[in-house]
């Protein structure tokens, strides 16, 4: 489904990613694991077009998407749920969700009606969002904002989702809910690329994983094997 070959990317001339190659097969859940600053978020941003790679090629669904802008990539069905949630704080929860479906909603007219079915599905998945649907997104707690961010991505009916650090800054109890949602997504057959600092959690929910260090892939393989590999823990804690 997604294939990135030999990606070099970074900010202001210095490359954070130094030749990364990854592949995400259709219907699978692949994890990107690594310490902070290993390049997980940079890779996520590069894949979805927020960052243009210096070198390398990204193919999604058989089409070369290297250098396309983020909105075009999103419209092709590769959607990023960004690090730090990035909900639209001044807008209401429901507006946030509607924005997820922006490309297929009419710009003027009965857009709410057209999206109501999809909204209901999201509300079914995250009942808390239903309760807060007219509240400002900025006033939600961190966990609720993460649910909203995931819900917003799902509203786009993506072919593949990249989840970047969904656990960032969340309390352990909230974390559980977030990972439940990820497991649910996976069971529904959505292709997922999960970038995660908490190695254990990420390895538990994914089929395959790539261990990143200093902008390169140092280890890859089936998650169950990597979870048992002592060198992963070692690489992780240094």
């Amino acid at each position: 489904m997604l294939k990135a070959e030999n990606i070099f990317a970074g900010y202001g001339g210095s490359n954070v990613l130094k030749g990364i190659t990854i592949e995400v097969p259709e219907g699978s859940c692949v994890a990107l694991v690594g310490a902070n600053g290993a390049g997980k978020s940079t890779l996520a941003k590069t894949l979805c077009g927020l960052l243009i790679p210096e070198k390398g090629r990204i193919v999604f669904n058989g089409r070369d998407i290297t250098g396309l802008c983020a909105s075009s990539i999103s419209r092709k069905g590769l959607c990023l749920c960004p690090e730090g949630r990035r909900v639209f704080a001044p807008l209401s929860v429901e507006e946030n969700l509607l924005l997820g479906a922006f490309p297929r909603l009419p710009s003027i007219g009965p857009f709410r009606k057209k999206a109501s079915g999809d909204l209901e599905k999201i509300y079914g998945m995250f009942p808390i969002l239903m309760d807060r649907k007219s509240q400002q997104a900025g006033s939600l707690s961190g966990g609720e904002q993460q649910m909203l961010a995931i819900g917003r991505v799902l509203m786009a009916k993506p072919r593949m989702v990249i989840l970047d650090e969904p656990s960032l800054g969340l309390a352990p109890i909230v974390l559980k809910e977030v990972f439940e949602a990820i497991v649910g997504l996976r069971r529904a057959g959505t292709t997922i690329l999960l970038s995660e600092q908490f190695a254990k959690n990420a390895l538990a929910v994914s089929d395959r994983a790539y261990i990143l260090e200093n902008g390169t892939v140092v280890l890859e393989g089936p998650s169950s094997e990597l979870a048992r590999d002592p060198s992963v823990i070692e690489a992780y804690l240094g």
């Binding site: 979805c48 077009g49 927020l50 802008c69 983020a70 909105s71 999103s74 419209r75 959607c79 990023l80 960004p82 990035r86 909900v87 639209f88 704080a89 001044p90 807008l91 507006e95 509607l98 924005l99 997820g100 922006f102 490309p103 909603l105 009419p106 710009s107 003027i108 857009f111 917003r152 786009a156």
Partner: protein
């Protein structure tokens, strides 16, 4: 009522009505600032061009509403052009060049207007009669009412569009977080351009409703930009209602200043207010504070 007091009240009311026009121009600043943290230092020139274009279209025999629509469309195109030519690149480079560039485009607009329409102030015909209505002894002319009504109407219209259309919500999303909006499939650049076009249209419309009261001339721009800035800064860049209140206040204040101190001092309340607001509360009375990040 005491005749002297009545004269003051008369001044305050007609000033306040004109102040709505300042609020409308300032509203244009709000729109573009929300979209990309930039404003057009040549906004007054767009007002002036809008008025001139409206005047020319009326001169060709078009009905009043059609000439105004023409002016508004031209204003939208000009606003769009300003963003494309002066603001976009400079903002991406994170420097202050855009301030200079918008001033420069405004200067060119003045020069072009001087040469196309002449340097004289021209009257602007309006379809309303010149009569006025009397409210408690204060007379209010129809063109003045049109200014207030038109300004409020346009602001209301845009606010409704912002809240109740998908495009409007998307534009708000872009101003909250352009990258996250891109991830939702919204083209941030297009949304920013749209904001500038609407801002330009509002300025041009302001021109067509002010002109019947003030006449049209290439110099009408300079003072107007500063007054609109004054309103925008005092009110802060978040609240539309704040703009209307500040606009009314400033309009009355400058009319009273002109009445009491002499016509040369008319502009001072706006300038003093602007400097005070910047000095004491740069984010505006109705604005929010900003957090520094490293």
């Amino acid at each position: 009522m005491n005749p002297e007091l009545l004269a003051y009240a008369q001044m305050a009311v007609s000033g306040g009505l004109m102040g709505m026009a300042y609020a409308l121009v300032a509203y244009g600043f709000q729109l573009t600032f929300a979209a990309g943290k930039a404003v057009n230092f040549g906004q007054g020139e767009l007002v002036m061009l809008g008025a001139f274009i409206g005047l020319t279209l009326t001169g060709t025999g078009l009905p009043y509403w059609a000439s105004i629509s023409g002016a508004v469309a031209a204003g939208a195109a000009l606003g769009w052009f300003v963003e494309k030519s002066a603001v976009r690149l400079a903002l991406k480079q994170h420097n202050e060049g855009w301030i200079l560039l918008t001033i420069i485009l405004g200067l060119f607009a003045v020069s072009a207007a001087e040469n196309i329409w002449g340097r004289e102030d021209l009257p602007y015909p309006a379809p309303w009669d010149d009569g006025s209505i009397d409210i408690f002894g204060i007379s209010v002319t129809w063109p003045e009412l049109a200014v207030a009504g038109g300004a409020l109407g346009v602001m209301l219209l845009v606010e409704i569009a912002k809240r109740y259309t998908m495009t409007g919500i998307a534009v708000q999303a872009v101003s909250a977080d352009p990258d996250a909006a891109e991830l939702c499939g919204i083209r941030s650049d297009a949304a920013t351009s749209l904001s500038w076009a609407v801002s330009g249209a509002a300025a041009a419309f302001a021109g067509t409703i002010i002109a019947p009261v003030t006449t049209v001339g290439p110099t009408m721009a300079a003072a107007l930009t500063l007054k609109a800035f004054s309103v925008a800064v005092v009110a802060g860049l978040d609240s539309a209602i704040g703009l209307v209140l500040t606009g009314i206040f400033l309009g009355s204040a400058e009319n009273l200043a002109g009445f009491m101190l002499g016509s040369g001092w008319r502009e001072t309340p706006g300038l003093v207010l602007l400097m005070l607001a910047l000095a004491l509360r740069p984010q505006g009375i109705f604005g929010k504070t900003i957090i520094r990040k490293v």
